[in-house]
């Protein structure tokens, strides 16, 4: 039987093109995901484990337990099997150069060369505590060169620098800075000057969460108690045995582990974050495969309809249903296997390219053969499953149809499955809305999925009926459009099938756009709420210099800059605080609530701790002595009180001006524009900080950048992946048109003979394709937008008030894109149709 299946394939190789391409694209996507995941995970692991590469045993000090002896490294060295050990230190410092002031991490270099985990690219190893090595990336970003001198300052405990705050200190080995008051035996108190003597090229970006990294000798960390000791054991000794020994003899609070185990732990910590990304990729891969399956099912339905008489004949001369079905499914499996193999091969390449673009190919290409086998199986399975239902229907063709002259009229009768689908869509949609309103994510997801499946199964007849409705409208638009309409109506079921995949692709894109826009608006509103002011620059005493103010006011990303009033004053219950007075203009620009109540009562914004100190509830009225006079304030908690990095109560500027206290202008606050380039803003602030060492720079700029940056990246990634789905859908439309062109060869020829121009014939097909694509797009948007809103509502839940924002521009571009898709998919079929010679229509 295979020979017959192949005979058909050989006879019409082009006919299988759409099926082949759909499965190639679908599997390529999955394979690329698998390779990207494996490669980037391996890369992450290598990066995470790099500092441990040269060690056999790692001993950690549990920061919760009592401090061990400062030289506890010696206890590790004392073990007979340990041939070398080094204490590992890390400190966070402000790196100060001529141009910038920013947070840097300083790590210790092992004195023992065999325990150093990187080699030098240039220069030499540091010999004294005043010499450091930097990696190439730090060198570049900080604008340093070999031989440069840099100052390293203690970080102020209360105020985070602009770059480190919010990014989260991911370094596993950061020393506890609070206790590290000692600055070594050089430089002024709290400051050391060091020289860059060596440069290393790590080849990757270490996962430390800071932009600048320096490596110094152990002498730099004099007085610090090491948090970790790395050791090597003598040749032939077992690290496991040494670990067991050390754990038995070391004092409590110190725990040993093999370096391999420690590396695994470190890698897991980082890989955990990327696993979510893997999952997202996998979901989109499966969506692409679903789209491929829909195109394949559609292509089979259309093709088998053409072969109806042949199949009936096969049945007549004795083929059993099972044989016919087997023939079709075997054929599908062959094409599916071929496509999956091609797709997987292409996917491996794409995945590697993707991993290189994200800089995660530290250890080269990683492929899990089993995953690729799984991808190929998924591809073949998708093809076979997609072909199964059409094959079943085809095999049920009664043999007597071989003897009949005319084909039965096309169209989609309403079957029970459509009613079930409609019910599922209705129930799913309702439950999803409820789930979204209540904010129960799993229920919303489950119901949403049920609804989507229901919709997909019920949409085909709906689309078919829409085609029928559109035809008279087209008829009124003139000859070419009328012909296109007539063609659509001739087999509305077929047109509906190809539109359906577009509904899936474009619907998902609409949903994602809506969810992303609404999510972004919600997060923006929430961030505005939590971080009303983006930039704060303060001096501890006196006022900010006019120069500094001018520099900040000139930063283009800021829409509102104000030199706010400050006063060092005593407030009952709060002690001596810096009281801040801001103008109503600034409050308005920052989106924070007004500082004057409806009844004229002034408002004082305090931090949570201060509220507790006052012993009142937020919103309560309290009489407070200010500048010798007592005034009644409505005390509330709010983010304004912590803008400067320290808790500083905020009142209206007029309150401060009239209270009789001494007023300085000790701070400059700035509110960024919504579309501000936050990277550039951070860069600016680094420079401001470098220009005047007495300034403390803070604000929420980088928090907002990080959060919205991640969101934007995810949305763009998802959109890119959904484009794959649209690509597959386009293929489906092109395939349907191509087949109908083949079918209509005689008719096209007749039309040409009757006087239709080539352009007219091409136009007919283009209009047909555009109508199909447009209907797909409109339904997609109609379904996608509510889905997106429900989805994001369920995700946000009650963590923040939902701000609904509809991406009008994005949604408007979807039908436009659909028209383009229609035109593109009509190009090849139209060329083919236009080649038909007019005489062919008249020949017998």
């Amino acid at each position: 039987m295979i020979t017959h299946a192949l005979a058909r394939l050989r006879a019409h190789p082009g006919r299988r093109f759409a099926v082949l391409m759909a499965i190639v694209i679908g599997t390529a996507f999955l394979a690329a995901t698998a390779v990207f995941t494996a490669t980037s995970a391996a890369g992450l692991r290598a990066v995470a484990a790099a500092p441990l590469n040269t060690a056999d045993v790692v001993v950690d000090h549990d920061p919760e337990s009592a401090d061990p002896e400062p030289d506890w490294a010696a206890e590790v060295t004392a073990h007979p099997d340990v041939v070398a050990a080094t204490a590992f230190h890390a400190r966070t410092r402000q790196l100060v150069t001529e141009e910038r002031r920013a947070i840097a991490n300083v790590y210790s270099l092992a004195a023992e060369p065999s325990l150093r985990w990187f080699d030098l690219e240039e220069g030499r190893w540091p010999a004294s505590p005043t010499e450091v090595v930097v990696d190439t990336e730090t060198l570049e970003q900080a604008g340093l060169a070999l031989g440069d001198r840099i100052r390293l300052r203690d970080t102020a405990p209360s105020v985070g620098g602009p770059t480190a705050a919010g990014t989260g200190e991911k370094a596993t080995d950061t020393a506890d800075d609070g206790t590290a008051a000692s600055t070594g035996a050089f430089g002024g108190p709290g400051e050391a000057e060091v020289t860059v003597v060596g440069v290393t090229d790590l080849g990757f970006r270490p996962l430390t969460g800071v932009r600048y990294r320096l490596y110094a000798t152990e002498g730099f960390f004099a007085g610090d108690i090491p948090s970790t000791v790395l050791a090597r054991v003598r040749q032939g000794a077992s690290p496991e045995a040494t670990v067991a020994d050390l754990n038995a003899t070391l004092p409590p609070g110190l725990s040993a582990m093999t370096a391999v185990e420690q590396a695994e732990l470190a890698a897991d910590r980082f890989a955990g974050g990327s696993r979510q990304l893997d999952l997202v990729l996998l979901v989109f891969g499966l969506i692409a495969l679903l789209a491929a399956g829909m195109v394949i099912a559609g292509a089979h339905t259309v093709q088998l309809a053409r072969l109806r008489r042949d199949i009936a004949l096969l049945r007549l001369v004795g083929a059993r249903r099972g044989q016919v079905r087997g023939l079709i499914v075997t054929e599908a499996a062959v094409v599916g296997l071929l496509g999956s193999l091609l797709g997987s091969a292409a996917g491996v390449g794409l995945g590697y390219v993707g991993a290189s673009l994200t800089g995660l190919t530290g250890v080269g290409l990683r492929v899990f053969p089993l995953a690729l086998v799984g991808v190929v199986c998924a591809g073949v399975l998708t093809t076979v499953c997609a072909a199964w239902a059409p094959a079943r229907r085809a095999a049920a063709v009664p043999p007597i149809e071989a003897l009949r002259a005319a084909d039965p009229p096309p169209g989609i009768p309403t079957r029970p499955v459509h009613l079930v689908g409609a019910a599922a869509a209705l129930v799913g949609g309702t439950v999803m809305s409820v789930g979204a309103l209540v904010g129960v994510l799993p229920i919303a997801i489950g119901a949403g999925f049920l609804g989507a499946v229901g919709l997909l199964s019920v949409l085909r007849p709906v689309l078919a009926r829409l085609m029928v409705l559109v035809a008279p409208i087209l008829d009124r638009c003139g000859g070419v459009a009328g012909l296109a309409g007539a063609n659509l109506v001739r087999d509305p079921g077929r047109a509906a099938t190809s539109a359906l995949t577009l509904v899936l692709g474009l619907g998902l894109i609409s949903a994602l756009l809506t969810a992303a826009t609404t999510g972004r608006a919600t997060i923006d509103a929430d961030l505005r709420n939590r971080y009303p002011v983006d930039v704060s620059v303060r001096v501890d005493t006196g006022s900010i210099s006019p120069d500094t103010e001018r520099v900040i006011a000139d930063i283009e990303a800021l829409t509102m800059v104000e030199k706010v009033r400050t006063s060092r004053t005593e407030i009952t219950g709060l002690g001596e605080v810096t009281l801040v007075g801001v103008t109503p203009e600034l409050t308005a620009a920052s989106g924070a609530p007004a500082l004057t109540g409806d009844d004229g009562t002034p408002v004082m914004v305090v931090s949570n701790d201060q509220l507790a100190g006052l012993g009142v509830a937020s919103g309560q009225r309290v009489a407070l002595a200010l500048g010798g006079t007592e005034r009644t304030f409505t005390v509330v908690t709010g983010a304004l009180a912590t803008v400067s990095g320290t808790a500083a109560p905020v009142v209206d500027a007029r309150v401060l001006d009239t209270s009789g206290v001494d007023v300085d202008r000790g701070m400059v606050w700035g509110v960024a524009r919504d579309d501000a380039d936050r990277d550039a803003l951070s860069e600016h602030l680094d420079r401001v900080a470098a220009a005047d060492p007495s300034l403390e720079v803070g604000g929420a700029s980088s928090e907002r950048r990080d959060i919205t940056g991640i969101l934007d990246m995810m949305v763009n990634l998802a959109l890119a992946m959904l484009l794959v789905t649209v690509l597959i859908a386009t293929l489906g439309v092109a395939d349907t048109l191509g087949l109908s062109v083949v079918e209509r060869t005689r008719e096209s020829a007749l039309l040409r003979a009757l006087g239709l121009t080539r352009a007219g014939l091409r136009g007919t097909l283009a209009v047909e394709a555009m109508v199909i694509a447009l209907l797909g797009a409109l339904l997609g948007v109609l379904i996608g937008v509510p889905y997106g809103l429900a989805g994001i509502a369920a995700v946000v839940g009650d963590t923040a008030p939902l701000v609904v924002a509809v991406p009008w521009a994005g949604l408007a571009s979807i039908p436009v894109a659909a028209l383009v898709i229609g035109i593109i998919s009509a190009v090849l079929p139209a060329r083919r149709a236009a080649r038909t010679a007019p005489a062919a229509g008249l020949a017998a």
Binding site: H4, I400, A402
Partner: protein
């Protein structure tokens, strides 16, 4: 030589065969209770005016349509009791078809088309069987060609070869000469005659051509779905006058 061999058991037999389409007052009776017996090795022509139920009768004989009532026996087996699978197997192994429109699979060569029923059954042709058949039908040179490269007569001979390759109990032919010119038609009837005389096949042929019907051992006349008369070895003019009577 025409020596009608009448054997004890007919190859094909019907009992009170009725086929009615639709229900109630609008129902159309295509076959109105016919009892027929087709002797093994005989060549029977079925004639009748348009709408007399010829084609429906043929479909019923082949098990392609289910009778409203009555039964059809092929070699003593009741078709009406068989399911789709059983019917398919019976058609494959015991019935050969020849159609007006040839109905060859365009993707397969002539040889593949001929061998198709055997392939579907998972059987291999008996040694020499194909060669004998092909030589008899004069198809030797054309086996590697696809149907599109064959003339109408050649296509119909391929169709006959396909019908005969399984050594069926009965060959059902539906207007086999309808799409052929006079010469090719005569040649085709010679082949059918040969199949009957030399290979001992039972042939039932529906036709409206008196010249074609005259080559049969006997002619059954149908009118309004019922048997109107039987003419044993009639001459063409006898058939014509009988047809007039049936109108």
């Amino acid at each position: 030589m025409r020596t009608p061999v009448v054997r004890s058991a007919p190859a094909l037999r019907t009992e009170g065969l009725v086929k009615r389409y639709g229900e109630g007052p609008t129902a159309v009776t295509a076959v109105a209770g016919v009892d027929l017996a087709f002797p093994a090795g005989g060549f029977t022509a079925v004639m009748g005016p348009s709408g007399s139920g010829k084609s429906t009768l043929l479909h019923l004989l082949a098990g392609l349509e289910r009778p409203t009532s009555g039964r059809v026996f092929i070699e003593g087996r009741d078709l009406t009791g068989l399911d789709d699978r059983g019917l398919t197997r019976l058609r494959r192994d015991r019935i050969g078809f020849v159609f007006q429109s040839f109905n060859l699979l365009p993707a397969l060569t002539a040889e593949q088309n001929i061998l198709l029923p055997l392939r579907l059954a998972g059987r291999t042709p008996a040694p020499g069987a194909l060669k004998t058949l092909v030589t008899t039908l004069g198809l030797g040179e054309r086996l590697r060609h696809r149907p599109s490269a064959l003339s109408g007569g050649q296509r119909q001979r391929v169709a006959i070869a396909r019908a005969l390759i399984t050594e069926p109990a009965v060959v059902l032919a539906d207007e086999p000469t309808g799409a052929l010119d006079v010469a090719a038609g005569r040649e085709l009837l010679d082949h059918l005659r040969t199949a009957c005389d030399e290979l001992g096949r039972t042939i039932v042929m529906v036709t409206h051509d008196p010249l074609a019907a005259a080559r049969a051992d006997r002619v059954l006349l149908l009118a309004d779905g019922a048997l109107h008369g039987v003419l044993p070895r009639p001459a063409p003019h006898e058939i014509l006058s009988a047809m007039e009577g049936a109108r």
